[in-house]
Structures are given as structure tokens and as C-alpha cells.
Amino acid sequence: MKNKVINCTKLLLFIFILVLALFVRKRNYAEIPIPGQSVDEYSYSWVGLSLIESGVPVGISGIDGYKNSFSRYINVDRFFQTVSTGDPLTINYPWMDHPPLLGLITGGYAYLAGARVFEDTTSYLIRKPIIVISTISVGLLMVYCWVNFGFITAVIGGITYATTPLVVLSGRMIQAENAIIPCLLACMIFISLYFKYKKDYWLLLAAVIAGIATLFKLTGVVCHLFIFFALLNNYKNNFIDLWKDFKFFLLVSLPISFLFVVFGSVYGLDNFKNILFSNYNRFYGIGPNSLIELIRNQRLTQHKFLPEFSVISGWFIFFGYFFKQHKNMTEKLVVLSLLSYLIIYIFFGSQPYGWYSFPFWPLLIIVLSKFLADGIQGGSNLLAGFFISILILGANISRLIGIFEFQPYANLWRIGVSVMFFVLTLMSVIRLRYKLLVRILLLGIVVAIMFTNIMYLNGINIDFWWKNIS
């Protein structure tokens, strides 16, 4: 009976976090981020809409290799009035920059809602499916944490990923990375279940999802790379078993990925090849700046930044986990997934665009949540966990009321933090374990982080966007 009540409470909390995630993503979703700041959002939807309507994908491309292209002013959401540079849009067909699955989802939804021309694909319409997808990501992140690290990690991870403003705002944008995130998280869940229960269907599911990920964008190949690293790590020197599993995985995932080649060949294999190879000439952000930028500045779009201390501290913890020898496979899986995407990120050389870094965030938040949960559960990193959580809260407060407005409360903050730090240090030194007290304190900080995140999100409107997010 007691267990039933506990499980029901956990389930209710899980559902509450999902509803919260959906609610914060849905509020002002059609206005923020400002429609038109990334015309890719429209392009994806036009590709899907045109594919359904005319059988040929039509969209915007910035790369060479297209036979059919022309310029047009398509004033959807009247973005030529708000964020335009003055240049008309270059329309290309048949569009093959990326696989068409995301376009089919957003454009398909617009089609079902009655859209027939490109101007119909307003952000009010086309952002709805992506909000659902990014809410699913919150659920998958929680499931991964729950399965591998326990319920407290799932709650901390869920709350952080559901409400962190950078994640919420980026989760409203129609970018393929937002669809790759749930695929990668699902692969992480399935492979950890495969290692746990040794049932082939978990590997099969991972393979299907990995195949689907590449139909959103070629960077979806991160799922293949991650599964390879995970199997390699699991089987160590047993290459026969490694090859057996990876062969099975590829036999399922590659035919799904190959659908993009089939799609391309429908509109001319030469054309498809030209466009694919034109991708190799894209801007490449080589040099140390690309990695420093990634860690220090979190981008929403090419020119909009929204630094988040939870993401930055996630990087620090990741480096800690990376250099520490781990016996725990589940912790290794997160490190391997981050490493896999880092390789993809560097290979695709994606410095100037914000959305290429989106898939790092759920992984970094998992790492952060695990670290904080260890502290809450009486682990050795209690002080570090407290220090990081208080830094995140401090950064959130400074965003809300400004540094100068905060000064009347500075003494209160200093005294409060010092007292808590002193008490926790003392408890660590004399090995006192008031687990309940520590749990209440750290969970209180997590709730305060959630609250300040939501307050900040509530204050973001068009005016705030232009003035404060740069």
C-alpha cells in the first residue's frame, strides 16, 4: 500500500513536470523567439507543405548546387516589417539541404490546419508540433534519469530542463536539432535498458530511432556514433560480440537512413549529389573559439545569446566526469553521448548558428542533475552541489531584478549563503548526516531555481527581447 502511494506520487510529479514544461513552452510561443529571425523555421515547413501539396520539396537554401532557384518576398508573419534585412528570400526546388521529416511534421500539421500557400505557415501554426516534441524531450530526459540514476535525479533534471529559459525558448524553434534531441535521449534509454536486461528488442528500438534521427538531419548520425561508443565500451575487448550487436543495429538503422538517398534520387541523383557535396563548402568554425563560444556563450540564434549558468556548470561537471575513471556504466553513457555529439559538432563546424548546440543542453542538464542529486542523497559532492546550485540561483536572481536593484538584499544573501555553507562544511567535517535537512535545503534551492526561471520567462515579451536579449 505504502509503495503504491509512493509510486502514484512519483507518477503525479512526473506528469506535473511535463504539464509545466508544456505550459512554459506554449506561453507567447508565436511571438518569442521573434518569427523570421531564423527563416529556417519557415523553410522546413514549406518543404513539408510543398511536398504534400505538389510532390516536390520547395524551400530556402543558402548553398550552391540547385538548378531551380528564384527570389520572392513571402511576408509570412509580416517578418519583412520586423526583422528583415531587406533581401528577398531565395527559393530552391527540389530542396534537399536536409532530409524532409521535420518539414513533413510541421508542414503536415499546417496542411491539416488548412494551410495551402507559404504565407499561411505562421509561427502560431507551425511551432505547435515542435512544442510537443520538446515537451516529449523533457519526459524522455526524466525517464533516462529515472531508469539510470533514480527519481530525485529525474525530478531535478526534469525541473531544470523544463524551465531553463534558454531551453524553453530554443524548444519553440523549428530546427532539426529539436527533433534529434528526443531521438538521442530515446537511444540512451534503450541502450541502457539493453545493457540491463539483455533483450534484443531494446537494441532494435534504438536502431529504429537512430535511423529516424538521420531523417531529420544528417547530424542525427550522432545516435549511430553514440551506440557504437556504448557497445565498444560495454564489450571492451570482445570484438566478436561488439560486431554482432553493431551489425544488427546497422542492419536496422541504415535502411531507414537510406530513405534520404531514395528521396534525393526521386528528384535526380546528380542534383542530390551536387547539393550534398555543396554542404562540404559550408562555413566551418575551426579554431579554439568554436569550443570556447560553445561553453561560454549559449546562442539561441546566430545573433541572440542567453547565457545559462546551469549549462555552463554542466560543462564543468562533464569535464570532471570525463577525466574521472568511472565504473558506473550509466554515468559513462551520458559522457559518451556528450562526446559523440561534440565530435559531430566539431565535424559539422557549426559555430555561427545557435541551434547546432541545442543537443548539448539536455545531456549537460542530465550531468548536472546527477551531480546535484548525489549531493542531496548525501554523496561526497554535497558542498560542490550546494555551491553550483546557489550560483545558478544567484545568476537567475540577477537576471530578474538586476545587479543594482539587488544591493539592498546583498547582506541578507551573503549572510544566508555563508551560514548554509558553514553548516554544510561542519556537517561534512564531523561526518554528521542530517539527510532530511540537506534534502530540504537543496530541493528548496532547486524549487527556487524553477520559480525564478518561470518568473524570467513570464517577463519575456517582444519589448524585453529586443532590449535585454542580445
Binding site: 510532390g55 531587406g86 504565407e119
Partner: protein, 134 residues
């Protein structure tokens, strides 16, 4: 094979340039039409040098709408075609341009209905005002 032939047949059956044109240049059912010529404009200047037309409108309320359009994005390169496209992009009835109280000039000359079939030249200026305030 099913995907390949299915998509091939579907695209051959459904695609036409008229349909493409309709999708790309069709008016939205979700967008409002305005009667205020100064309510909306096109921001910025096209990067392409020397191949643009400027539209400047001055309204009674004192509001102005200044737009610069690249000619490369205009299919029908006549004066009438340009005005029609401008009206489509902004979202108003092109006939508003020829209402009694609106006076327009093309490169300093009064815009007449005869001029509509003539070509629109790069770097042209179309200046309009309510009640001829220019």
C-alpha cells in the same frame, strides 16, 4: 522501391509551375488586409546594388511607409506588375493606389493608368501621398 516509385508518381501527378507559383505567391487566408497604406513597410535595403525600386508613402496622419524592393524578386517587371506585387506583399488592395485622394509619382512624373503597362526601371522611385502632400 515503394517509396521511390510512390514519390515519383505522386510528384509527376501533382507538380506544375502554376501550382508552385500559387504556393509561393498566394495570399494567406490568415493574414489581415489593410486599408492603411502606411501601416506596414519592408525594412532594410537589398544587398543587390542598383536593382531596386523605392516606394515612399506619406499618409494624412503623418505616418510614412518607406520600402525598398529588389527587382530580382518581381516576376512581372511592369509598373502595374510591381504595384500589384507590392500590394500583395504588404497586404492591401492594389486599387487603393488609384483612389481619388491618393496621388502617386513615378520618378517625379504623375503616375497614370497608361504608365502601368510600361517597364519598371531599376532605381525608380514611387512616391505617393494622401491628398497630394508631396
Amino acid at each position: 522501391m515503394v517509396v521511390f516509385f510512390g514519390l515519383k508518381i505522386y510528384s509527376q501527378k501533382k507538380f506544375s509551375t502554376a501550382k508552385l507559383h500559387k504556393m509561393v505567391s498566394g495570399k494567406s487566408m490568415f493574414r489581415d488586409m489593410t486599408t492603411d497604406l502606411c501601416k506596414y513597410q519592408i525594412l532594410g535595403d537589398p544587398k543587390e546594388i542598383g536593382n531596386y525600386v523605392k516606394v515612399n508613402i506619406l499618409c494624412d496622419s503623418g505616418k510614412k511607409a518607406n520600402s525598398t524592393l529588389s527587382l530580382s524578386a518581381i516576376e512581372d517587371k511592369t509598373v502595374g506588375g510591381f504595384i500589384k506585387e507590392y500590394a500583395r506583399i504588404i497586404g492591401f488592395d492594389e486599387k487603393l493606389f488609384f483612389k481619388n485622394n491618393i496621388m502617386c509619382y513615378l520618378d517625379g512624373k504623375v503616375l497614370t493608368s497608361e504608365m502601368l503597362t510600361g517597364p519598371i526601371l531599376p532605381k525608380s522611385d514611387i512616391d505617393c501621398s494622401e491628398n497630394d502632400k508631396i
